[in-house]
């Protein structure tokens, strides 16, 4: 008789613990404003990533199509997986001296691990991390980018 009583007690206790759990899920069911889910991609217009978010390496240009890159190649050295290739060229300055300049700053987005080491190492701050994260493309050659825009040149007064 005692055994039966104990058994029934366990059953009720067990059902009780289930109800405790259901109380929580139920309470959230009736408080939908407590949800944290974002409606992506519907919220694309308003979606703003954090400033430091590392989406891709970009090279900002000013309105005169000028950047800060000297072509020193330090970013290439610091990249752990060879995502950056620097092709530099030498140009003649006004006073007739030879000077190194960037020809192509090639960036392989498909290989990049977004470690920020290149940005950290760049002595002139020519490259930064961009917030774009929708990188899906149909053709992987599109993932190789040249960061300095065509016809761009180095801004005045950038010291190596």
């Amino acid at each position: 008789m005692n055994g039966l009583f104990e058994y029934i007690k366990t059953v009720f206790k067990g059902v009780g613990t289930l109800l405790t759990g259901m109380k929580i899920t139920g309470s959230y069911f009736f408080r939908p404003w407590k949800h944290v889910t974002q409606q992506y991609p519907e919220n694309r217009e308003t979606l703003k990533m954090f400033d430091r978010f590392r989406g891709e390496v970009i090279m900002p240009h000013n309105e005169n199509n000028e950047h800060l890159c000297t072509g020193c190649g330090i970013c290439e050295l610091n990249c752990p997986n060879g995502s950056i290739e620097i092709i530099s060229m030498s140009v003649l300055t006004e006073d007739g001296k030879k000077k190194r300049a960037i020809d192509k700053h090639i960036y392989h987005l498909g290989m990049c691990t977004f470690c920020n080491l290149c940005v950290k190492a760049c002595p002139t701050g020519a490259i930064i991390m961009g917030q774009e994260f929708e990188h899906a493309v149909w053709d992987r050659t599109k993932l190789t980018k040249v960061l300095n825009l065509p016809g761009s040149k180095i801004a005045q007064g950038v010291k190596e």
Binding site: L18, T20, V36, F50, R52, T113, C115, L117
Partner: protein, 377 residues
């Protein structure tokens, strides 16, 4: 007549062989590509032989070709749930080798980040543990709370999981101006959410039947197999590196090493929940007192370690994580070895699950909190 008798006797003696079943590598409860070769006798597990190597990424070998700051970003990808601790282990190892003392600010921030990762990792473990046992609700509740921590990481470090926030000699960036406020808001909220975890799962009768008195690991076995972290502490093995070999800001905070001697699945579960409370407690002690100062010391452009061998261990969310660097004085290490907690913990699975039903194997494996890239680094 005598012939018939013979036959009856021999059916009595039919010998049932054990049969071998592959669990994984594509089994949802192995949380990745882990293959367990299970010998079964009926439904009872007789022996488990884990086979690893399906996603072996050769990180140790890759480390030999790259410089020390670059090694750190690879450690993110091993135990991706304790990325901060792995980063820190390499950074500390290099700092100790060069005898660089980092500012207090760095130590505080590192410790806070460690504990936030531990919280995030345990939250994910909790929700996955529920999911393995069929309670899908926990999965969403755990991820909901983890999202806040990942937002904190994203704001300060720039990435959610592969944070790469530590560098030899300090940190990648200073903390974001919002950091302290966000962490405090999160803690305040999470302290109301953590009791919900208990109500949802800890007390649940179905869950308790699946984990109580199952998967015992004795203290001797825990030590013999090197089971560390909450899994080892559940068997009474006091192995918390934060207590025994404190690093960063751990000597400055008060916290308890949670221990139990019972060694079953439920104890391992409970210790992790208790560790979450301890982590909250640690962060609360530090968050308001982050000292002013630099977030990194100036290091040489090319970091070269002196010749020799260096070892540093930290407590990751799964147990003791160790970095062993052999240097020959160049800018790349000669050899790097990572002691990953998951690897040792996994091989104790045989001791825990042998003799239990195959369904219990899933529950026991969940309590080990395995991360496969950590095992197959």
């Amino acid at each position: 007549m005598s012939e018939t008798k013979e036959i009856i006797i021999s059916t009595d003696k039919i010998h049932t062989d054990q049969y071998l079943v592959n669990m994984g590598p594509q089994h949802p409860s192995t949380h990745g590509v882990l293959r367990l070769l299970v010998s079964l006798e009926g439904e009872v597990v007789h022996h488990i032989q884990p086979h690893v190597g399906y996603i072996h990424s050769g990180i140790e070998k890759m480390c030999e070709a790259i410089s020390y700051p670059q090694i750190i970003h690879l450690t993110d990808r091993m135990d991706y749930l304790s990325a901060h601790m792995n980063n820190e282990a390499v950074a500390l190892c290099v700092e100790n080798a060069l005898q660089v003392e980092v500012p207090d600010r760095v130590k505080y921030i590192r410790t806070i980040m460690d504990e936030l990762s531990r919280l995030a990792s345990h939250q994910l473990w909790w929700c996955v543990m529920g999911m393995d046992l069929g309670a899908l609700t926990t999965f969403f509740y755990g991820l909901r709370d983890r999202e806040h921590i990942l937002d904190i990481f994203e704001e300060t470090c720039g990435a959610r999981m592969t944070v790469n926030y530590n560098l030899p000699g300090g940190l990648m960036f200073d903390i974001h101006p919002n950091f302290q406020k966000r962490v405090k808001d999160f803690l305040k909220e999470f302290k109301t959410k953590l009791p919900e975890y208990d109500e949802l799962l800890t007390g649940n009768v179905i869950f308790r039947q699946r984990v109580d008195n199952i998967g015992h690991l004795t203290l001797e076995d825990a030590i013999a197999w090197g089971v560390t972290g909450p899994s080892g502490r559940g068997s009474g093995f006091s192995c918390d590196v934060r207590k025994h070999q404190p690093y960063s800001a751990y000597p400055m905070v008060q916290f308890e090493e949670k221990l139990d001697t019972k060694g079953d699945s439920f104890v391992r579960y409970r210790l992790r929940i208790e560790e979450m409370w301890e982590s909250i407690h640690i962060i609360e002690q530090l968050i308001d007192n982050i000292p002013e100062g630099d977030y990194a010391v100036k290091m040489k452009g090319v970091i070269k370690l002196p010749e020799g061998e260096f070892y540093q261990r930290v407590e990751s969310a799964r147990g003791e994580f160790g970095v062993y660097i052999v240097s020959d004085g160049k800018k790349n290490p000669y050899r790097v070895k990572f002691r990953s907690p998951g690897f040792s913990n996994l091989f104790a699975l045989n001791k825990m699950a042998a003799g239990h039903k195959i369904a219990d194997l899933v529950a026991i494996m969940s309590t080990l909190d395995l991360v496969i890239p950590d095992i197959d680094r």
